[in-house]
Symmetry: C2
Subunit: 197 residues, 2 copies
């Protein structure tokens, strides 16, 4: 059985990564969606191992020291990271892995595992992204402007990604990502071993 592959999904806040990932998981339940570890306290309704792996600061540091994170970072006083173990277990079972992470995390993983495929999800236009962020109605104008500015900044880095998918509709974006996953399994290094000699 061929090993699974890791697909890193990045994109600006508000672009709809979560919805696209959900659509992919619905279409292929064998996909493994990586659950992050964090030191922040669980919120109401959040379950350990489902929404996050909740770790103490000491435990998180032990994992860092042991090289047990594919990437990790600190945001607003809390640590967040991608545990290596679950990703590797899923790939060993032949399952493809989806990681929904920040662009800095994608960079860390790319250094360690250049074979991980990096996909950036972009909005059809920056105006449309602004409409989507405003439409949420959860943030004030200043926060939205700051998110937009950061999205545009990050977009320069997206040009180094393997693929750029435009989320005009969820169906279209998910179909393109599925095509990318199929194509990446057709790389000769992997495929050549599947031909009986």
């Amino acid at each position: 059985m061929p090993k699974g592959k890791t697909f890193i999904i990045c994109g600006p806040s508000g672009v709809g990564k979560g919805t696209v990932v959900s659509r992919l998981m619905e279409a292929d339940p064998t996909l493994y969606f990586s659950v992050s570890a964090t030191t922040r306290a669980p919120r109401a309704g959040e379950a350990d191992g489902v929404h996050y792996h909740f770790l103490t600061r000491e435990r998180f540091q032990e994992w860092i020291d042991a090289g047990d994170f594919l990437e990790h970072a600190q945001f607003v006083g809390n640590f967040y990271g991608t545990p290596r173990r679950y990703v590797d277990e899923a790939m060993d079972q032949g399952r493809d892995v989806l990681l929904d992470i920040e662009i800095q995390g994608a960079e860390q993983i790319h250094q360690k595992r250049p074979e991980a495929v990096r996909i950036y999800i972009a909005p059809p236009s920056w105006e449309e992204l602004e409409r989507r962020l405003t439409g949420r109605g959860t943030e004030d104008g200043e926060k939205i402007r700051s998110r937009l500015a950061r999205g545009r900044e990050e977009f320069a880095a997206a040009r180094d990604f393997d693929y750029l998918v435009i989320n005009d509709t969820v169906e279209h974006a998910a179909a393109e990502i599925r095509a990318i996953m199929t194509a990446e399994h057709c790389r000769p290094a992997e495929r050549a071993a599947q031909i009986e000699c």
Copy 2:
């Protein structure tokens, strides 16, 4: 409108390239299948511009001198080549181009146009390829053995290709090539220009 891309299809004799290409053309009539030029005489039923562009030797040499071939080669005393002009016209119209060529031709195009995507179609096994070649019933044992030996030799070069598709069933192989074509249109260099800034 984004420009079309060139997809080079190679594979050993008997693997079923023609059938896979026909299936792709049926599914997407906008695809342009490149018609080769040749100096050999038309056979019964062959039409100029449909099966081949039939050229005199003098004309063929003029095209070579003018750089009008993406690749060309001599087989059994006749010249064969891929005219650049029709490929470029199709791509300018936004059409993807399929080239069914020999592996040496693929190498020539790769030198000139590294952005052309190289797909190698392989059999599920060499035994299966032998069965397919024998099943045709058109060639004797020695010719089949020679084709098989050449196929195995070429296969080493296929590891440098961008993609390796196994033709277990025509549907499966065609679906994988369609996925590859979709994925290759998601490359950032092309896509970034499609986002309205």
